[in-house]
């Protein structure tokens, strides 16, 4: 039994908007664009960003990194398609963002972070961000927050199929296939996506000059070359199988299994003077993730049990051709991760005013990391690496209370353990209140103390791992105001927005520093004060019959300041913004829909990112602010045997010459054309 604030007037209008346009595309759930203000008791005081299905299913070439870039206040650090894409959520480091898929944490236990470029958005049906404190409701360790991803049964009766082919610049090909079947009880879905590209886009290399020599090898001229992105090719294959069974008597069973086969070259830096034909720099990944679930719902209570397994095999090869067709390994590293997952949750709502929740989860990791092959002093071969297992337990209890309709209170207590160490208790408190029914104006506030365990590499990597590291930990405070409203005059519209202030101090921040022995080693050294404002606004207007305008904007101001002690008398980093965290960012998406046409404009802005902890301006370490614009135009043709979807996407519309990461140029204007076929059975 989920309690909602009564928003009948708004819902009736938004449903009307959705129904009016529901003929556009069967797979699109426009209701999600315009339905606002639902407040389950579970979400009392929670700061949450939900991505609608239109954003997630925009095109098959997008990964979750692209979705986060253009639809949220999270900074995504990436250097192009199919390259490592990590996030800085509220100015924290990538490992401070927890990521769950169908309830199972999928952060790499060796590195702590998640590469969002390996998550195709077409494989995700529901996605949301839980900002800061709000993540404690689901998991610990999310000092920045939680990215919550899941799959869901598609409500189909009978057979369903969809095939999309994308053909783009730089010989890029994307293919997507989905087959589904459903009846009253069963839902089956199979999805597959295959993307490949040499990804050899052109750019002017401002970091390098080519010399022109005379016969005596004297330089007689120099120029910045126009180069192609070298060693950037990728081939990514994903397949996902889902099976759901619903008894229609309160029990639902689900199985989701996802396999990834990724083969990517690692692009060369702009300052690399090696011949790409002589070097191979490649990363291959095989990952399987599977989750089984059982939901048991009754009038006033619900239980959920989940079990899962992750297997990841990563191979990194750095090789050089030493003679014709004779390649020698310079680095040959391998890692294997096996994770077993179990979770049980219970919810109980005895009255309209009370809601209780309790849950426990366990992730058992087994990691084998082989980083380097060496020859020992006696001539035997040996491997530099580690082989470790670690159990991570998390348990929580929470109580939510709504003494009157317009006030909600929530308390969460979470306890976590990693290996044989227990973290101190993680408390979180939330409050929200409805200030005005008119406009559904709500105020929210929360506070929590959170802990983040060191990763397995932090503790055991050879050489440098530091088993004595402490957990990173800190207090986070949130307060915000939200509203959502709808009307019919002068035009049917919905308008909603939210502004949140947050403040968090993270102590014992872990950073890897070089040692006199020539390798890096992690230490708890920094205190970081991350604070700021996040704001979102959504406007959906129906200006005329068959027309819909939908605009989403977000803005964030996130100072993330080194607040620790000086590391050395000459240290100039105290009181300065952390490297690679922009202070300001903004995004805007605008969608115009008319009958079966749809036009989308996406824009994002990032302020300057410092590459030095002292925030010094230097010519060699400067990443100026940039703006990025993408557009797409889509047409749906409903033919007798099938629906035909045609789409043209233009990325980097104004051919901006820009960098997101130092020495990693991004592609200029590029195009991709998609054709989608949805047969009618």
């Amino acid at each position: 039994m989920i309690m909602n604030v009564n928003l009948k007037p708004i819902l009736s209008i938004t449903c009307a908007l959705a129904v009016a346009l529901s003929s556009f595309a069967a797979e699109r759930d426009l209701k999600e664009v315009v339905v606002w203000g639902r407040r389950p008791m579970k979400e009392i005081g929670v700061q949450k960003t939900t991505f609608d299905s239109l954003a997630l299913k925009e095109n098959i070439a997008l990964s979750m990194a692209d979705i986060l870039t253009f639809n949220s206040s999270v900074f995504v650090k990436s250097y192009g398609r199919a390259t490592l894409s990590t996030v800085a959520f509220r100015g924290t480091s990538p490992s401070h963002t927890q990521v769950t898929w169908n309830g199972m944490r999928i952060n790499n236990p060796m590195l702590g972070m998640t590469d969002f470029s390996t998550i195709p958005s077409f494989f995700i049906d529901r996605a949301s961000l839980l900002h800061g404190t709000s993540s404690v409701n689901e998991t610990g360790g999310g000092l920045g927050g939680l990215v919550k991803l899941s799959t869901a049964p598609d409500v189909v009766r009978g057979f369903q199929a969809q095939y999309v082919q994308g053909i783009g610049s730089f010989s890029t090909f994307d293919e997507f296939l989905r087959l589904g079947y459903g009846n009253d009880h069963w839902q089956f879905s199979t999805r597959a996506v295959y993307s490949s590209s040499p990804n050899d886009y052109k750019y002017v290399n401002h970091d390098k000059k080519v010399n022109i020599y005379d016969d005596d090898k004297n330089i007689i001229g120099q120029y910045h070359p126009t180069e192609r992105n070298r060693s950037g090719a990728f081939k990514d294959f994903h397949v996902m199988q889902e099976v759901y069974y619903n008894t229609n008597c309160g029990d639902r069973f689900g199985l989701s299994a996802w396999y990834i086969d990724s083969n990517r070259e690692l692009p060369m830096l702009t300052t690399d003077y090696g011949d790409e034909r002589d070097f191979e720099n490649r990363q291959r990944e095989h990952t399987f993730r599977g989750v089984m679930s059982w939901d048991h719902s009754r009038e006033s209570w619900k239980t959920t049990v989940r079990g899962g397994y992750i297997h990841t095999h990563m191979a990194y090869d750095y090789r050089r051709e030493v003679a014709e067709d004779l390649w020698a390994d310079m680095t040959r590293s391998r890692s294997r991760v096996n994770t077993f997952f179990g979770q049980a949750e219970g919810e109980y709502a005895p009255t309209r005013k009370w809601y209780f929740n309790a849950g426990v989860s366990a992730h058992q990791h087994f990691v084998r990391s082989e980083d380097k092959n060496v020859i020992q002093q006696n001539g035997d071969k040996a491997i530099v690496g580690y082989d470790k297992g670690r159990i991570e337990l998390s348990g929580s209890v929470s109580a939510k209370w709504q003494p009157v309709d317009h006030i909600g209170l929530s308390a969460v207590l979470r306890e976590e353990m990693f290996g044989d160490r227990w973290a101190p208790l993680i408390p979180a408190f939330f409050v929200d209140g409805l200030l005005s029914r008119r406009g559904n104006v709500m105020v929210k506030a929360s506070v929590s103390k959170n802990h983040k365990f060191p990763t397995l590499n932090d503790m055991y990597f050879q050489p440098g791992g530091n088993p004595d590291l402490k957990s990173e930990q800190g207090w986070t405070y949130d307060a915000g105001l939200s509203f959502d409203t709808a009307g019919k005059n002068p035009l049917p519209f919905t308008l909603s927005g939210e502004v949140t202030w947050f403040d968090s101090r993270i102590d014992d921040w872990i950073i890897w520093l070089p040692t006199p022995k020539g390798f890096f080693s992690p230490r708890n050294v920094k205190t970081v004060h991350a604070y700021g404002i996040e704001a979102r606004l959504n406007l959906a207007v129906k200006p005329a019959e068959d027309w819909l305008v939908d605009i989403n904007g977000s803005y964030s101001w996130t100072p993330s300041i080194n607040d620790g002690e000086k590391m050395s008398p000459a240290d100039q980093s105290v009181g300065k913004q952390l490297p690679y965290v922009p202070k300001r960012s903004a995004s805007l998406t605008g969608r115009l829909t008319w009958k079966s046409w749809s036009f989308l404009y996406k824009w994002v802005y990032y302020s300057e990112r410092y590459t030095m902890s002292s925030n010094d301006y230097t010519l060699s370490g400067h990443l100026p602010e940039y703006y990025m614009s993408n557009i797409s135009l889509e047409k749906l043709l409903s033919l007798k045997p099938l629906d035909l979807q045609l789409k043209l996407a233009v990325n980097n519309l104004f051919n901006e010459d820009y960098l997101s990461v130092l020495s990693r140029p991004m592609p200029g204007i590029n195009f991709e054309f998609f054709i989608g076929l949805t047969p009618k059975f």
Binding site: H224, G274, P516, T611
Partner: protein, 335 residues
Amino acid sequence: MEWDYDLDDETFDAPAHGLFIVNEGSFQYGNATLSFYDPQNNNVENEIFLRANGMKLGDVAQSMTVYGDKGWIVVNNSHVIFAIDTKTFKEVGRIENLTSPRYIHFVSDEKAYVSQLWDNRIFIIDPRRYEVTGYIDVPDMTMETGSTEQMVQVGRYVYCNCWSYQNRIIKIDTETDRIVDQLTVGIQPTSLVVDRDNRLWTITDGGYDGSPYGYEAPALYRIDLETFTVDRQFRFKMGETPSELNISGDGTRLYWLNEDVWQMDVDAARLPVKPLIKSRSTKYYGLTVAPVSSEVYVGDAIDYQQQGIIYRYTSGGDLIDSFYVGVTPGAYCWK
């Protein structure tokens, strides 16, 4: 995005004597830089390679060697060595497509050796044509475990320490470009110098706890080049991290880093008990000794993500000057 590149190249006219500081930068950032310090006027110029040439130095600058009027900067992860005019800092040539270059040593005007990491070959270079002309294969080493480092020459032989997961000093005959002998020392010899009596010195780091190659107390070794054997060994405590072995211009005093800056006479019977310059919560990373004045220059990389600072001390250990340079100042080169 507004670019700051393509600025007009600056014209420099550097004094005849001074100190180049090679700032490694951060791995994979491509933000290595070169600084020049004029000790006469206590003046430092930073980012001189970019300012003189309108392009970046590259990723992880490892070392620099001056030969004649050219300075040769080895940029490890850019697979390149740039040659610059030491007066104007303008590029005069480059050697490209190296594996993972570490140091360059000039045998003559016509020949130089380049040591490598992740390569079991020392590259032979023709510095007049900026071309690779051959290789010296190092025995008992694969590409993956390849590591040749600093090189010093005595007579017709070049000696080179093999560092990463290695424990050897190799001896190269410069007339045949072949390795003619090798000497086993302790685990991971980091640096190499020759004293006034033509004795070779190296300092090992001892490996690390858990290394399959072994972990031992580091040591300072004195090697008799007549017999090519270790004639003296000075052992440090387990867990200490000596590195950056240097020698005074007259070849009489050794210097190294081991948290503090240490100095020892080449004829001393035991390791010193007091440092020359004590660490003041500093992260000393690079060290050099002025060839004539024996002034000591030591760099503090701080957090390795900001401009490092160089402290200049008298030969007696009194502070004279300090100046900020680039990120992670790791190597020096006197002109």
